[in-house]
Symmetry: C2
Subunit: 382 residues, 2 copies
C-alpha cells in the first residue's frame, strides 16, 4: 500500500473479537456493559458495539455525548466530573436521552442542580487509588455531604458510585499473558492439579477496587442512603479478570483496539491489537540505523513508555495483506517532532526499505492516536 | 469568562508584535522571511503575516500547502522530505504556485522527478546537528549524487541548501533573556565599555549552523555546481540572534506564539507568549494541593519539560482582562489523561477556586496544542 499521509488502519475482525469477548464476559457475569466510546469516537465502530447488544455507552465530553445521541444512542454517561458551564448542553441531552452525569463534590451539585430543566442521573466518583478525581472513600463527611446535596435537587437522581482504577496503567506484568484460547488448557495443567489460578497484579487491583467500592456503598446504605450501584472502568483490570464480580457495571474503552501500552501492561496479546498508524518513509539513514517517516506527534501523540532502556513512542510492524506482522525486533519509534517520526531499526532492515514504502506503527496509546487523526481511518473488511 | 470546553486563547497584540519583530530583523538583515505556518495553521493569522509584507511561507505537509495555496499564498515550501506518493498533489500545487520541495537523497529525487508534470523548486536538506533528516555535510559523495540526480530532472530546479538546527531545542539558558527594549541600554552598560555582547549558546548554534551551511555551499560551488542559497529555520536561534548573517532565508514558525518550551530555552520573555489553553475547573483537592481541569492530552498534547525537578506539561496563569497574569508560583500541570489535566498548586489557591472557573494553561509546545485543538481559537481584538 502506498500512502500520501499517516493513516489509521483498523483490523475489523480483531475489533469485533475484542468487543465480543468483553460483551460476553459482562453478560456471563450479569453486569451492564457500558463501553467507553472515547477510544474510537466513531459512529461506524459504535454500530459494531450495537450489533453485540450494547445499548448504554460512556463518553468523555458533552460534545461526544451530542455526537452519539444524534446517532441514536439513548443512554450515555459523561465520565468526567460535570462542568456547570455546560448546563445548556446537559439540558438538551437530558431532554432527549437518559443522561448520566458524574460529580465528586457537593459544590458542583449545588451549581448544576438548580439550573437543570430535565431529569438526569448522577454518579458519585470515588477515588480508589488513582488520585486524579473522585472522593476519598475514607472521607465519610464529604461523601455524605455530596449524597445529601444530590437529594436536595429534584431533577438529579443518584445512580451509584463510579470509579476509574487508573493505577492499573502503572502495572508492567513482564510476563506473557495467556492466550484466551489457552485458558482451559492452562487450567488443566496447573501444578498440583489445583483449579486455582495465579493471581496477577491486575487481578489484585480489581479485587481491591471492587472491595473499596462495596464497603463505601455499604457504609452509605447503613447510613440510610439506599442501595447504590457500582461502576468500574479501566481496560487493564477489565481485560485481565475472568469474571466481573462485586460490581453492577463495567466501562472499559481502550480494549476495542488495545495498543502498545496495554500489551506491555499485560492486558492483551500482540494479536489482539487492532490498530496501527500507517506511515510513509521519507528519509533513511542506514549508517545510524534509522528511518524517518511522515508520522509525528500530531499523529501518534507524544505518549511514551519505557522499553529495554529506551523511552519509545511506538513499535513497528510490517503491513502483511490486510493484517500486521509481529512486532519487529529491535525496532521502535525513538523520537517524534510535529510531523516526523524517527525509527531506530537494524541497518539491514533500513537498507531494504525504499522512500515511499509504508510501515505500520503500533502507537503507545490508541485513544490519543485516534483523536490526533480526527477519528478518520481505513478498516479492512475481509 | 465561563467556558464549556478547553479553548485556545490568543492575544492579538503579542502575535502582531512577534511577527513584526521577526519581519523587521529579516528585512534589516536582507534575508527572505519565509515563516513556518505549521504553528498556527490559521488563515486569519496568515493574513496578519501578509500585512507585514510576508509573501513566502513554509508548511509541514502537502495538505497544509493546499490549504494556504487556496487562500492565495503563491510561494510555499513543504519543509519535510518529499514523499513520492504525493506526486499528484505536488503536480496540482506546482501548476498553481511556486512549489518548493525538500529532499535528502538521490533516491527520492529519482522517484519523484520523472512523474512531475509542472516545474518545482527543490532544496537539499543538510543535517547540521539535529540528526533527524538531512545529508551529513561531511558526506560529499552523497551530497553530490543528490545534486546530480536533481540536475537530471528537467522539471526540478535546485534552489539551495536547507537546514533545521533542531538541536537548539535542547538548550536551557537558565538565565532571563534581555527584554527587547533593554537591548540598547544593556549594550551601553556592558563591562569595560566594550560593545561586544555576551554570546549565548543559541548564538553559538546559529554561528556553527551558518558556518557549516556556508562551507557546504562553497564546496559545491567549487566543485562546479553553481551558487546555492542557504535557508535556516528554528525559532530559538532565529529569536536570539540580533541579525541574520551568512544565510539567504529564515523559516522560524513557533515565535508567532512562543510557549513554555521557548521561554525555558531562553528564546522569549514571558510577556511575548501569545497563547494559552483556557480550561474549566472540574474538580478540586485542597488536601493534595491539586485541581483538575477539563484540558487533557488531546488539548495540550503530552509534550513535557523538566522544571524544578518535575516533569511538567504546562504552567498556569490567570486570565486578566484580555491578557494573562504572570505565571503562578509553584503551579504546574503535573499529569494529563485524555481529557483531564491535573494541576499542582498551593492549597490556598485551590481553596479560592470554584468548580467552573477558568484558568489559563501555557502549553509546553504551542504548535502541538494548536494542532490538537484543530487550530480553532478565540482571539482578543485589542
Amino acid at each position: 500500500m502506498k500512502i500520501e499521509k499517516p493513516t489509521l488502519y483498523i483490523i475489523k475482525e480483531r475489533v469485533v473479537d475484542n468487543i465480543r469477548h468483553m460483551a460476553h464476559k459482562a453478560e456471563k457475569s450479569g453486569v451492564t456493559f457500558r463501553p467507553h466510546f472515547k477510544t474510537h469516537q466513531s459512529i461506524e465502530i459504535g454500530r459494531l458495539f450495537g450489533q453485540e447488544g450494547v445499548r448504554a455507552i460512556t463518553v468523555s465530553s458533552p460534545q461526544m455525548a451530542e455526537k452519539f445521541a444524534s446517532e441514536g444512542w439513548r443512554d450515555i454517561t459523561i465520565a468526567v466530573p460535570l462542568n456547570p458551564n455546560c448546563v445548556d448542553t446537559y439540558n438538551q441531552l437530558a431532554d432527549a436521552i437518559t443522561l448520566n452525569l458524574l460529580t465528586d463534590s457537593a459544590e458542583a451539585v449545588n451549581l448544576i442542580g438548580p439550573r437543570l430543566s430535565s431529569p438526569a442521573m448522577i454518579w458519585i466518583e470515588i477515588d480508589t487509588g488513582q488520585h486524579r478525581t473522585g472522593i476519598d472513600p475514607s472521607g465519610k463527611d464529604k461523601l455524605i455531604a455530596t449524597v445529601e446535596a444530590i437529594q436536595q435537587q429534584p431533577l438529579l437522581m443518584l445512580k451509584g458510585l463510579l470509579t476509574h482504577a487508573g493505577q492499573s496503567y502503572q502495572v508492567r506484568e513482564g510476563t506473557p499473558v495467556r492466550r484466551r484460547s489457552d485458558d482451559s488448557k492452562t487450567d488443566g495443567k496447573s501444578s498440583g492439579g489445583s483449579a486455582k489460578k495465579d493471581k496477577s497484579t491486575l487481578d489484585f487491583i480489581y479485587q481491591s477496587t471492587a472491595s473499596t467500592m462495596q464497603k463505601t456503598a455499604s457504609m452509605l446504605q447503613e447510613a440510610g442512603y439506599g442501595k447504590l450501584e457500582i461502576s468500574i472502568g479501566d481496560t487493564p483490570t477489565c481485560s485481565r479478570v475472568e469474571e466481573f464480580y462485586a460490581v453492577n457495571e463495567v466501562r472499559p474503552g481502550n480494549f476495542v483496539f488495545f495498543d502498545l501500552m496495554q500489551y506491555h501492561i499485560g492486558s492483551c496479546k500482540e494479536e489482539n491489537i487492532a490498530l496501527a498508524v500507517l506511515c510513509p518513509i521519507i528519509s533513511k539513514s542506514p549508517e545510524r540505523g534509522e528511518i524517518v517517516v511522515h508520522g509525528g506527534a500530531v499523529h501518534l501523540s507524544k505518549e511514551s513508555l519505557e522499553w529495554k532502556g529506551h523511552t519509545i513512542h511506538g513499535q513497528v510492524a510490517e503491513l502483511e495483506g490486510s493484517s500486521f506482522s509481529t512486532l519487529l525486533t529491535d525496532t521502535y519509534v525513538k523520537d517524534l517532532s510535529q510531523e516526523h517520526g524517527v525509527i531506530k531499526a537494524p541497518r539491514h532492515w533500513v537498507e531494504g526499505k525504499q522512500i515511499g514504502d509504508t510501515i505500520a506503527v503500533i502507537p503507545v496509546h490508541s485513544c490519543l492516536a485516534v483523536d490526533a487523526l480526527g477519528a478518520q481511518y481505513i478498516m479492512n473488511t475481509g
